[in-house]
């Protein structure tokens, strides 16, 4: 792959996920500090800061890029801030990459962090009758798990997925995350424990729905030329694709926070679904296919949703995800391990940090540094992520 499409990852850092209840800036700073020291780059040498925003506090998180730049000490570095729901971190990576590939800077810091309230995510307050996110709570009582459950039930009726399959995803991810120092939940669970946890949105139970967490993640990215000079080597970890595509019309799968799908009445046959197209664009950009992937970090907002992703990122055909899971293909040691970090199942979601955290895990995997959860021989990994309002992302990391 030519240098004009790739950027190098010099460093990765995270603050452990949890429910720490402190200001999000603190988690971002810890992650940024770790990423800079992992990279061997001084903060004063960073030319561009790309922040992923949280929307806590009623507006985009104190404008996150600048908040982190100020906390690290103003240096005059250029700055941007991205809000794209769950894909905020990927957009921040995308911004930094564009600056580097355009030759506008050599070294960029990407950082995202969040402090979340307990319980269901809720819309912005007030009487907001023009906001579909507000209206779906008000008129339907539709929470995020409502939508996850619609997809899960559809898998059961179309492909014969069982509640035990969904529980088995949780059991797998809980085991994967046991040794991950950044994971919030590091405890094995059994199928019985999952199936005896309270039902939240039938068929999904409490232990199968991702929690809301505090956490922070950061990356130091650079041009390939700078990285070779800096490392004195051609052996680099690179980002080979960043997909942040929007859905294609007509979007025929119901998505948060909508009341309806697009109508397919006046158009030709719908193309790939949104989640499929997010990964397809990444593969196309990197010039590779699913057969080249050794490891994947996908957005398991629910246990069942992880199965959808196996198909959406092309690891298997539609309807075959349960078989992949049952055969152990996606367990560490299997053919293509999925969520070796433990996934959202072990982390919970710290929205603006999460897409960055997925990349951090892949960086450690392709470097062979994922202690206690290493996928043997991992060289190429893919992330996949999707959130509110037509935002999604997929990033390909290679060594």
């Amino acid at each position: 792959m030519p240098d004009d499409k790739r950027v190098a990852v010099l460093g990765a850092g995270m603050h452990p996920w949890g429910k720490w209840g402190r200001n999000f800036v603190e988690y971002g700073l810890a992650a940024a500090g770790d990423a800079l020291s992992d990279a061997g780059v001084a903060w004063t040498d960073v030319q561009y800061v790309s922040g992923a925003d949280t929307i806590r506090n009623g507006y985009p998180g104190f404008i996150a890029g600048a908040t982190f730049a100020q906390a690290l000490g103003w240096t005059g570095a250029r700055v941007s801030s991205s809000y794209a729901a769950c894909a905020s971190g990927a957009q921040a990576v995308s911004n930094a990459r564009a600056q580097i590939l355009a030759g506008l800077c050599d070294v960029a810091l990407v950082v995202g962090a969040d402090t979340t309230p307990k319980g269901f995510f809720t819309p912005v307050g007030g009487d907001r009758k023009d906001d579909p996110d507000w209206l779906r709570f008000h008129l339907l009582g539709a929470t995020n798990p409502t939508y996850f459950a619609l997809y899960a039930r559809r898998r059961m009726e179309l492909f014969g997925a069982t509640e035990t399959d969904f529980a088995a995803v949780k059991v797998k991810n809980a085991r994967h995350g046991l040794e991950n120092p950044y994971a919030r939940y590091r405890k094995e669970v059994t199928i019985d424990e999952v199936l005896s946890s309270p039902m939240v949105a039938d068929p999904l139970r409490l232990l199968e729905i991702c929690a809301t967490s505090d956490g922070g993640a950061a990356l130091v990215l650079s041009s390939m030329e700078f990285a070779r000079r800096h490392a004195g080597s051609d052996k680099l970890v690179t980002i080979d694709a960043v997909s942040t595509v929007t859905p294609r019309y007509p979007q025929t799968v119901i998505e948060m926070p909508n009341f309806s799908t697009d109508s397919a009445a006046s158009t030709s046959t719908p193309g790939p679904t949104f989640k499929q197209s997010v990964a397809l664009a990444a593969y196309e950009e990197a010039g590779i296919g699913p057969e080249d992937i050794n490891v994947a970090e996908v957005y398991d907002l629910s246990s069942a949703l992880e199965l959808d992703w196996y198909e959406d990122i092309g690891l298997c055909k539609e309807g075959e995800a349960e078989r992949m899971l049952r055969d152990g293909d996606t367990t560490i040691g299997g053919r293509i391990p999925v969520n070796p970090s433990g996934g959202l199942s072990c982390f919970g979601e710290a929205i603006p940090a999460q897409a960055i955290a997925q990349v951090c895990e892949l960086v450690w995997q392709v470097r062979g540094q994922a202690e206690g959860r290493q996928v043997e021989g991992a060289r190429v990994g893919i992330t996949a992520n999707q959130g509110l309002f037509g935002h999604g992302s997929s990033i390909i990391v290679a060594s």
Binding site: F137, L140, A142, L150, L158, I254, S260, T261, S263, A265
Partner: protein
């Protein structure tokens, strides 16, 4: 249930207040024929269409369940929950003519055990919540046959 309260829609213009045969009110692009719900008012969502004019379109009153779930825990505000909280089912329903899926609560008394992908449902009106003077009305889906008759009691 008899009530002296004034019945008002929980949101204006999304459905008719016709108790016998209510319909959702979507829009249809006068250029390409695309449906939308809620109504489109500015610009057609079909990227191949430049349409800016829309006719009000009553949507099909019947459809089939695309998928379904329930809300075992009380949803947070701005949902206005009954006290004590009563769990309810939610369905995403495919409308054949419009080739779209529309969500709605399922009428009280119909649990997920009584629903399947493909269950035929029809649109009805029901109370979403009440205050001292008003009953706020919303659309809900109701299985055409089978299901519980509690809501008709």
């Amino acid at each position: 249930m008899p009530s002296a309260k004034t019945r008002v829609p929980a949101i204006d213009g999304w459905f008719t207040l016709d108790d016998d045969a209510p319909t959702l009110l979507g829009s249809r692009c006068t250029s390409c024929g695309t449906y939308a719900f809620p109504k489109e008012t500015f610009f057609c969502r079909n990227p191949g269409c430049q349409g800016k004019e829309f006719a009000e379109a009553p949507l099909s009153r019947r459809g089939t369940v695309w998928s379904y779930t329930d809300a075992c825990y009380q949803p947070p505000k701005p949902y206005v929950a009954a006290d004590p909280y009563m769990p309810f089912s939610i369905a995403a329903v495919e409308l054949a003519a419009e080739q779209m899926v529309v969500m709605g609560q399922v009428v009280p008394g119909v649990g997920v055990d009584e629903l399947s992908v493909g269950t035929e449902v029809e649109l009805v009106l029901d109370t979403l919540y009440e205050d001292d003077e008003h009953e706020y009305i919303v659309w809900k889906w109701k299985p055409v046959s089978g299901g519980s008759e509690v809501s008709d009691a």
